[in-house]
Symmetry: C2
Subunit: 213 residues, 2 copies
Amino acid sequence: MQEKGISQAVIGRLPRYLRYLGELKENGVERVSSQELSTLMGVTASQIRQDFNNFGGFGQQGYGYNVDFLFTEISKILGLDREYNFVIIGAGNLGSALGNYLNFERRGFIFKGIFDKNPELVGKDVRGVKVKHINDLEDFLRNNAIDIAVLTIPKTGATLLVDTLVENGIRAIWNFAHVDLDVPEGVQVENVHLSDSLMKLSYNISRYDREKK
Amino acid sequence: MQEKGISQAVIGRLPRYLRYLGELKENGVERVSSQELSTLMGVTASQIRQDFNNFGGFGQQGYGYNVDFLFTEISKILGLDREYNFVIIGAGNLGSALGNYLNFERRGFIFKGIFDKNPELVGKDVRGVKVKHINDLEDFLRNNAIDIAVLTIPKTGATLLVDTLVENGIRAIWNFAHVDLDVPEGVQVENVHLSDSLMKLSYNISRYDREKK
DNA sequence: TAGATTGTTAATCGATTAACAATC
DNA sequence: TAGATTGTTAATCGATTAACAATC
């Protein structure tokens, strides 16, 4: 089945829509118009309607959108109607933080294992999961259906590990290492480059200072 | 001084340029053409030249770009030619991870304090900095010139804290809480919404599955 | 000088916004 | 039915790519 190319710009906005719809749901709001959502979120109503219409008509003329229905549909589009098993590679502070983050579990991301090359970390408990040595990773991947590998290790290690991960069935990499990974077609990569984000912040601080002068 | 509106698209690419230029520098490469950089980074040479020319001519016809010079210039544009003091609010795993991340220090981001409301975390050491109670935050901000607050606390706490931060001189917020913060003009916010990023990953996994069918 | 490669203008492409007919 | 609001087409805006003259 071919989904006519939805732009990454649109996809990137979907999680935010989902967040606001979730809040409306929690507040017991049943229906919302593109205009109301526009005011709430600070984007144009036109963009909201265009975005939703990429996936077919979710609304009803004269009424607006049913919050519950829209929430469910966007969840499905984002692939949140199923479960994903993930392992974390790198049991340092960041790896542990992600392992402990319960909200992922709520969205269907199941924390199955965590690995490190440092023997001192082996055996440490991260939300009920014991850290294993990285040497046991291949075996573990072969015997468990893991979808996602979360890389919270330095860049050299990350680059070297990609082949092993892919050969053993990993289909997606959530990459926190500061490097662009080279993966075969069909393997998804999502980068979280924290220092890039911090640089954007410092750009905006210093640009503001320059403009003030 | 007014810098003619550089688009966020361009700014967003600068840290990546910087990373590649840093690697070239490390490898002792002196000059690079937009064509070489294009091959290396997987973007068009045309885009590279357009991007750089937003800030004036960094290159030389017939020669290309001097790696060292270009690196320095992009650093300056990104505001990396000065230091920023930051505090972390929230001493959980994520906050500790960010406090321990030495690369930030290398770029001029100085870790000055870390705070938590949990008394059990108070006194804990994070890379030589002792966790303080959140009640001491205001005092600390008044007596120290802190530029950036890093928010690694749940969204309710983050929303409530914004006014305090701004009133006490914080100029920028690096926000890891899953909420859109409302700040006065002139205060910079950069969001890292990890769950949004993870949803983009699951979208791509499930889209790939749909296309395969 | 000849060759290489930038800086920059023009052309194209894609994304956002505006407008309005369709319809609940 | 009348009013509201979507779905969708058209207009605008911005970003990317192509082309080439300027120049090192």
